[in-house]
Amino acid sequence: MPNERPWLTVLLWVVLSIATLFPIYWLFVISVKPAVELFSTPSLFLDTIYWKNYVKVIGDDTLRRYMMNSIIISSGNAVLVTVLAFMACYALSRYDLAGKENIFFWTITNRMAPAAVFLLPFFLLFTQVFAIGDWKLYDTRIGMILLYCTFNLPFAIWTLRPTIDGIPKELDEAATVDGATTWQVITEVIFPLARPGLAVTLILTWVFAWNEFLLAATLTSFNARTITTGLSEYVTTTGTEWGTMASISIITLIPALIIFSVVQRHIVAGLTFGAVKE
């Protein structure tokens, strides 16, 4: 259908983009102004740029640690979850497991309760059960990586299953007859064809872990504290350091943008075209 009024489409997208990007711009404006100016002469325009907030944030060892924690926990969790979900989906899709639809459904039920419901059990597990001598799972990066599996793994299995189911079984069979082992079938045939689905799963689980606040706030104190949680430390009883918070927020967006731009290239449609003639 030819577009009769292209300018209308353009206008629509411009308006939508402004609506979406404006808060981010605002955030940026706040991050590059001294605190005094923020309240004395509120303005949306940038006449001078004040980098002190950034200098302070980047120079702060604690914040750097929080940032590193966030990156390690999110990426570690996203990769672990995606790999596990990939193998789980392959098994669910290709093998006649007894009661596999029940297994599948049961996995999903983990996502049905609000995260807060898990708070207390996890706190007890992390402080009392998974503890060897002085060492506890509480406030560790590995603890957080495993914790997010509870929520991300069911979600990932659910997102990935249609992708794996959509890869014709004849391809597995052809590869098997061609001499491939199950592992080779997975790496040579299934993995390349599942790439778009894997990329989507990776991004979404990464974002979940990156943004998660409640559990991170409860189950970490310092060592494994994430940047999302660290941010809230700037809201204190004596006031809020808006400029610092805004600059941390802007910095927090950067890894997300990098992940998106790297992974997004793999999200392409129609990879299995031409495999089998239906």
Binding site: V177, D178, G179, Q184, A275, V276
Partner: protein, 353 residues
Amino acid sequence: MAEVTVRKVEKRYGNVPVIHGVDVDIADGEFVVLVGPSGCGKSTLLRMIAGLEAISGGTVSIGGRVVNEIPPKDRDIAMVFQSYALYPHKTVAENMGFSLKIKGRPKAEIEAKVKRAADILDLGKLLGRYPRQLSGGQRQRVAMGRAIVRDPQVFLFDEPLSNLDAKLRVAMRVEIKELHQRLGTTIVYVTHDQIEAMTMADKIVVMKDGRVEQVGKPLDLYDNPGNVFVAGFIGSPAMNFIKGKIDTRDGQQIFVSNSGSVLPLAGARAQPGQPVIYGIRPEHIDIGPGGLPARVSVLEPTGSETQVFAKLGEDSIDAIVKDRLTVRPGEDLMLRIDPRHAHIFDAKTSARV
């Protein structure tokens, strides 16, 4: 190259038996076609030979070695699937070289073998393309190329031509046959198309409902079908069947149909009075004086020949004649049946008598 022996092979899905003790012997280098109507278990049998389907009973041997417990990758077979099953993310060359790459063969060897197979199948110009950029016939050839590169003991084909249009199917039929003559590898080929079976096979295995109905050379099956099913399945257009019984007249056995038409027999074939089915192929019926009067219902001229659908009393009968006919539907003509080509089957057991 190797022979394939299928002994008393059974297949059950849960409690549902779909193959009931099948025996097939395939000699080294033989081109064997498994043919039968849809759902008769051809693919299942082929997949058991390939190792893609577990064997519920009996044994399958390839090259004298029982392979029941051997996984497909170690059976040294190559399979061409009905859906081609090309790897969509690999180029034609990569598709064809995949099995060698998996085995860790050196690059130069892979390239040489792929090139040789590509030459045989005329795929040289397409080696860099992806499956989605190929036509149906080209994909089919790539699927065959992938099999040839393997240089396997046995080729397994599961209805490789059924997705192609009629013209291409005839061309590929010839190509596959030439390929077999050239490579001499044992081939097990599944189809439900009896013309493919007749034209390509050294030996045909006719299957029905999970059982082997008859095994033989194409023309043997055509000349001496063992039962009504095989008689009706092999040959196109299909054989005419008329129900009736044997009688004797003037010391000669004749066939009397249930509607009273009398058809000739050559020699004594059965007990007088025995209920039988009389089978005669359309191409063994001629038109001319001295025949049996029949009423024409439909004529189908194809240029080279004319198919006549007629009524012999109550019984439908069709004939194929070389002449162009001037009769019209509703008029009578005389059908001359060559009694030497008549087949008599027992009405109860439907076996040949």
